[in-house]
Homo-oligomer: 237 residues x 2
């Protein structure tokens, strides 16, 4: 489960949302923060659960997933150091509409949701950051929704890897092909073939449980342009 680190005060964290805050807002926000370790598959928040904390991922990546009666699952969107979960908290909601799982292991900073909402009330800047993020989030999910309907698996796989790349600090992505298949809603053997293809073309390298991006521009070319649309953050390698 989420293992809290020793409670040394959290001072600076490697998360894009938090980084944009003013020093004083940041200090207020992080006053009651704690760092948590997250392990793959762990359910951070389940459907209709009350939201207690806002999570700002650093090296971890979280993902909203839909789970169905037939046992199937699929990803809605993933969130890493470029974002915060749950989106509900950013939109003044107090319960989670969807299940949120740990996609890639790592750390995140947890802030009591009351602390965040209080700061939001006080600081115009924080409110704006939250609103801006919520809008970007919606843009992205809408893009994904259409992409999943319109494009074939190979393009979507490339797009998904790029999305995930935006969520992690380096170029290594700790993800299994099995999970990748589930998130894309396709069979593992299909993913296996695609990954092989990407590897042969030099776009990625793989070791057991890890995919490393080697040639991001080429991967972008292999993907549908759904990714480019909503990633304003260039991750110039």
């Amino acid at each position: 489960m989420a293992k809290a680190h020793d409670n040394a005060a959290v001072t600076a964290i490697d998360n894009d949302i938090v980084s944009t805050l003013s020093p004083s807002d940041m200090k207020t926000l992080l006053k009651d923060a704690r760092t948590v370790d997250l392990t793959p598959g762990q359910v951070v928040l389940d459907v209709d659960a009350p939201v207690k904390e806002a999570l700002f991922p650093e090296t971890a990546v979280l993902a909203y997933v839909g789970c169905y009666s037939d046992g199937g699952c699929a990803e809605m969107i993933s969130v890493g150091r470029n974002g915060v979960t749950p989106i509900d908290a950013m939109m003044k909601g107090d319960t989670a509409a969807h299940r949120c799982e740990v996609q890639v292991p790592g750390t995140a900073t947890a802030v009591p949701v009351e602390a965040f909402q209080a700061l939001r009330e006080k600081s115009e800047a924080v409110a704006e950051v939250a609103d801006d993020y919520a809008r970007d989030f919606v843009d992205h999910v809408m893009q994904v929704a259409a992409c999943n309907a319109a494009h074939q698996v190979e393009e979507r796989a490339a797009r998904w890897l790029l999305d995930l790349h935006d969520c992690v600090p380096g170029d290594d992505i700790r993800i299994t092909q099995e999970r990748m298949a589930e998130m894309l809603g396709v069979n593992r053997s299909t993913v296996s073939g695609i990954v092989q293809d990407f590897r042969e073309r030099g776009l990625i390298a793989t070791t057991r449980g890890v995919i490393t991006l080697l040639d991001r521009p080429a991967l972008e070319a292999a993907s549908c342009d759904c990714h480019r649309h909503d990633s304003k953050s260039d991750k110039t390698a």
Copy 2:
């Protein structure tokens, strides 16, 4: 193009969002409103366009669509009498992130976006309505995103018809199979087969350009349960 009706004052309109407002808020909102006629395929708002008006559909249905370089298109989500466009305006944005087209012809009430935002500032209730709607919208799009990845066409088609049914006043949906295919991101011949199947099973009736829901519960059974998740509004026939 959008044809404005004669400028008789708009007093009451058949839209769920507007209906929930207090009489005074409603009056304020509708002060500068005008009714517009919308025709299928018409682009209400394009990508990156400045938002000038908020549209509250009555009999019309709008849809956010992603359009791609290969000529393909797909729907993100549709909005009818149960909602308002653009979602950006509900989230304090001033530009449209995605293209919004007319899916089903009919009428909508247009309100200058400044009027809406001004009212939102003044009225706590209006602000809450906007926030609530934005959250529901996000929930729904996230559901659609996963659904499009995980489920096969027949289930998705049923889900899509149910979504659309929530957007229109009666049980008749003025939509062509060709458009339906495009929105689902599949071939028209696939839709043709599915529609036929639904018809033979008594779930729907069809005439040229119109699909009529006959047995909603059965259609729900034929769909994945993605629809049930986010439609709190029972449309008890």
